[in-house]
Symmetry: C2
Subunit: 98 residues, 2 copies
DNA sequence: CGGTATCCACGACGATACTG
DNA sequence: CAGTATCGTCGTGGATACCG
């Protein structure tokens, strides 16, 4: 559980993962998706996720340099967990039944 | 998702919740279950979980004072999430399939 | 466009000591 | 038995500025 928890921990981590579940995204696209997310934090998070083998960074040659972040199989494996987090969060938000 | 994540965040939180899923436990019983868990951190965690309405603290009169921590309905609602965390963690631990 | 470098604030965690 | 008090450390995250 610690491993799974570490994989999704961090204020922005789940949001970034969720965005990438829809397909590869560029750095700027991710920033655009979350205006409140600073460049440094996004950079930190992406590096961490890459180190955990949950996503890969792909550079396209040319100018300006194009970069895409794509989830790996391990990354997409987190989908059910994200769904469950959403489901449980909704349940907790709903009025407590006594 | 942030709400669900907050509910299970913290190094010991999931473990404590998991232990309480088996039934009410005393402070000392919880300490015994996790020898590496300091009294202060356990105290912090229990207070936080109580504030979130995930468990309740029950005192029995007498000497010495007996205390039990029991999950509420909201607390037990986290079970599927814990299961999913375990499942996902196992999947991530397993050899990466490329 | 796609980042890195610095610095700072805050909260989680841990160790130690003490209490009713 | 069931905690609280205090202190120190570290990681996350935010603000700002700068770079190829």
């Amino acid at each position: 559980m610690e491993i799974a928890l570490a994989a999704v921990s961090g204020r922005w981590t789940t949001l970034v993962l969720r965005e990438l579940m829809h397909g590869p995204r560029s750095f700027t696209a991710l920033r655009g998706a979350f205006p409140a997310l600073g460049a440094k934090v996004l950079s930190d998070r992406l590096r961490e996720l890459a180190e955990r083998g949950l996503l890969v960074r792909e550079e396209q040659r040319g100018f300006p340099v194009r970069t895409r972040y794509r989830l790996t199989a391990r990354g997409t494996a987190l989908r059910p967990l994200l769904v469950e987090l959403y489901r449980t969060g909704s349940a907790l938000t709903a009025p407590p039944r006594a």
